[in-house]
């Protein structure tokens, strides 16, 4: 009987081995990059999808007129060249004559015109519409020339066009009403198959005007757990992956066969104070909170030091030395004095909202801030919310304080006009405005001289930090992890995956 049992055991083991071997054999073609991410795109209409998770897919398929390179310089995409009129009221583009949609039809001025008219049409509900309101008319003198006539000088317009939310789509598809159900762009990859929240298959676009892509395609799997993504990298099931959680990212370099790519991003972690509510309407209280916060400690504790303390301006060319900003060195004595001056020597209670897992560090940030602010008597109650509930609450401005990760832009104006102008769409969320902020923003919008713009926005930054409507904390990194056999990927401050066009599989 003992022998019988061991025979059974052996055959059982053999079956298990066979099953595992069958499971790990991989059928995909050799030249496809196998990739994984945690969060899938939520839709295919480039004009309606602002979420990072969607943009990362769509920017492989669609192209805007211009795009940012890794140093955030504007470089050609569908447009080959462009020129602002000296008064900044006219912007002319010459399109790349080689630019073609993935069905082989050339990209024409009519497509550009139709795309922007679609974005501007309120019925489309295009998310970037607010950035293009200065466009008064669009002229197409020939097939490859587009002229945007503006109602007022608008220097940041060009940077706003370098977004997949202003992608050029075929005019014929707009007429047919198929944008969003069919992905047909002029970008480096074609979308062959999409199963939402499960996987997508992309193949290289041989006719792409931007050059030759070195891989045949990309197979993307949605693996909702980042520990599982790391395991899949470890066992070489995938070549390349996007990582959100800094804790998981720091584990990648421990594997000898893997490389971690890190790039500082423009998005910033911030503690928003709602200055339209008491007692945050009191300048001294807000300043006290700013002085009581040890930003480096928040970064070290909540995000294992993965990031950099920042002021409001996070984009290269505009950032300043954060340590020179008001109260960027924790000053408890000053904070306590400010609280006492404001009549809150004994502190007060407030609720801070934060979204579950968005960012991954949100809860930890709230906890560190809670303990830091307790030192000046501010008792913070943390309210964690599901992301969508949080967004709803945040948009209504229905909070005392909010831990947030807000998106950045390559230019300060489109990044902050929604918050710090009197007509900003998110004024209610910002909770604070004054004349200085509004006038500096308007000056920055029309100034064409780069050096002068920098001075204007540097003044804006200093003023913002001093009046402390929010407490800017730190910027983090975007992470991608790859096998050592993958080379050529260049990360960007936008967290873009466009660098996959240069990737080689060895």
């Amino acid at each position: 009987m003992g022998r019988h049992f061991s025979t059974k055991l052996l055959s059982g083991l053999a079956l298990a081995t066979a099953l595992t071997a069958a499971a790990i054999a991989s059928p995909a073609s050799a030249a496809n990059l196998k990739m994984a991410w945690k969060q899938d795109a939520t839709g295919l209409d480039p004009h309606k999808q602002p979420a990072f998770s969607s943009i990362r897919l769509l920017e492989l398929i669609y192209e805007p007129l211009v795009r940012f390179d890794k140093s955030l310089t504007i470089v050609p995409a569908v447009a080959a060249s462009w020129e602002f009129a000296p008064d900044a009221k006219q912007l002319t583009f010459k399109l790349n004559p080689a630019a073609k949609f993935q069905d082989g039809k050339p990209v024409t001025a009519a497509d550009v015109k139709a795309s922007f008219e679609r974005v501007l049409d309120e019925k489309t509900a295009a998310v970037a519409r607010a950035n293009f309101l200065s466009i008064a008319s669009i002229e197409t003198p020939d097939d490859k020339t587009v002229v945007f006539k503006l109602s007022q000088p608008d220097v940041p317009l060009l940077a706003a066009m370098a977004s997949i939310n202003a992608a050029i789509v075929p005019a014929a598809e707009i007429t047919a009403g198929t944008i969003g159900t069919k992905a047909l762009g002029s970008g480096p990859f074609k979308l062959d198959k999409w199963e939402p929240n499960s996987k997508e298959t992309l193949s290289a676009n041989k006719d792409w005007a931007g050059g030759k892509v070195n891989i045949d395609g990309i197979d993307i799997s949605v693996l909702p757990d980042e520990t599982a993504i790391l395991a899949a990298l470890r066992t070489k099931q995938i070549d390349f992956a996007l990582i959100n959680d800094p804790l998981v990212a720091t584990l990648v370099p421990k594997e000898t066969s893997l490389i971690l790519n890190r790039a500082p991003v423009l998005a910033y972690h911030v503690l928003q104070l709602n200055a339209s509510r008491k007692p945050m309407d009191n300048l001294a209280v807000r300043q006290a909170i700013s002085c009581a916060v040890d930003r480096q400690d928040v970064l070290d504790t909540a995000s294992v030091g993965e990031g950099k303390v920042t002021g409001p301006l996070t984009m290269p060319g505009y950032t300043s030395d954060a340590s020179t900003l008001f109260c960027y060195k924790k000053d408890l004595a000053k904070a306590k004095k400010l609280m006492a001056d404001a009549g809150f020597a004994n502190g007060f209670s407030a609720t801070v909202i934060a979204a579950n897992g968005e960012p991954a560090t949100a809860a930890a940030e709230a906890q560190v801030l809670q303990s830091q602010l307790a030192e000046i008597g501010v008792k913070l109650n943390i309210k964690m919310m599901e992301l969508n509930v949080y967004v709803d609450t945040w948009l209504k401005g229905d909070f005392d304080m909010a831990v947030a990760l807000n998106g950045g832009r390559a230019d300060p104006y489109p990044m902050y006009n929604r918050y710090w102008t009197k007509t900003g769409n998110l004024q209610k969320v910002a909770g604070y405005i004054d004349d200085t902020l509004d006038s500096l923003m308007q000056k920055g919008r029309v100034e064409t001289d780069v050096a002068k713009r920098k001075v204007i926005f540097s003044d804006l930054e200093k003023h913002l930090v001093e009046v402390s409507p929010w407490v800017w904390l730190y910027t983090s990194y975007s992470y991608t992890a790859q096998q050592k056999t993958v080379s050529g990927f260049e990360p960007t401050p936008e967290g873009s995956l466009f660098g996959l066009t240069k990737v080689k599989l060895n």
Binding site: I24, A25, V127, R129, D225, R234, N388
Partner: protein, 320 residues
Amino acid sequence: MSYLARRLLTFPLVMLGVSILVFFAIRMIPGDAITAMLGTEAGLLTPAQRESLAAYFGIDQPILIQYWKWLIGVFQGNLGISVIHGKPVLSIILERFPLTLQLALMSMVVALAVGLPAGVFAATRNEKASDLIVRVLAMIGQSTPNFVVGLLIIYALSAGFGILPTMGEFTPFLTDPLRNLGQMILPAITLGFAFAASVTRISRSAMLDVLSDDYVRTARSKGVPKRSVIWRHALPNALIPVVTLSGVEFGYLLGGAVLVEQIYALPGLGRLVLEAILQRDYALVQGCVLFIAFNFLVVNLLVDLLYVTLDPRIRLGEGG
């Protein structure tokens, strides 16, 4: 009226209650399909843009009218269209269901294959060292969350042995059975783990009860061999609580195993519902919940019918 007919008649009522509950509950959660798609950028929409999107998502009309339209659709066999998938809800559910069913069956097999013998074994060695070991193991098994088990298995296999089932690309059983089983065995073990522990505990205590019954003592005194007493005389009567437990558990499992599907990236019903809720894909949430509720009703009915088979003394629907 027969028991079966009466039970079947309650189905539509229960389903109607479920439909009302899910329809209004999902809409009561703050945030809607628009904020789910646009996030904080939704704040940049003009009122006209918002209206246009609301019409697109079908949330522009008063809620009662929305419900009425949806209910009429359901009666016509149309559960609506998922805005995320751009496909009919029913076809998405039917695509995902085979995986969920298979996972439920496999984890059930794992649980019963381990739990039942362990429970019987422990009962026959009541209060001995081996009984104690089984009970401690069962306690540990029951109190370890399945996502911990799943993550540990994944970590141990990938870090220790450099192997892992293919994730992210699921192979249906009929396409390639071997590959499919390779993908499903670990999730089934993960799910079956805690369930096996419950089966062990409940079959042990049921066995102990039965073993002290008169008829078992009679059988023993008649000289029936010990094995036969346990497996032929005692076990069938000890099975009723196990069947109840398994039925309830199986009903739950048919609703999808969210955490295990997340960890192993399996495209099952659990993940489908979770994603539909997070993205406020109302039609999909409603369709899934209705489908899951229906399965639960069917499984419960089958369990009741199974009682009669196991114990002919039970008469369904008579008396209290």
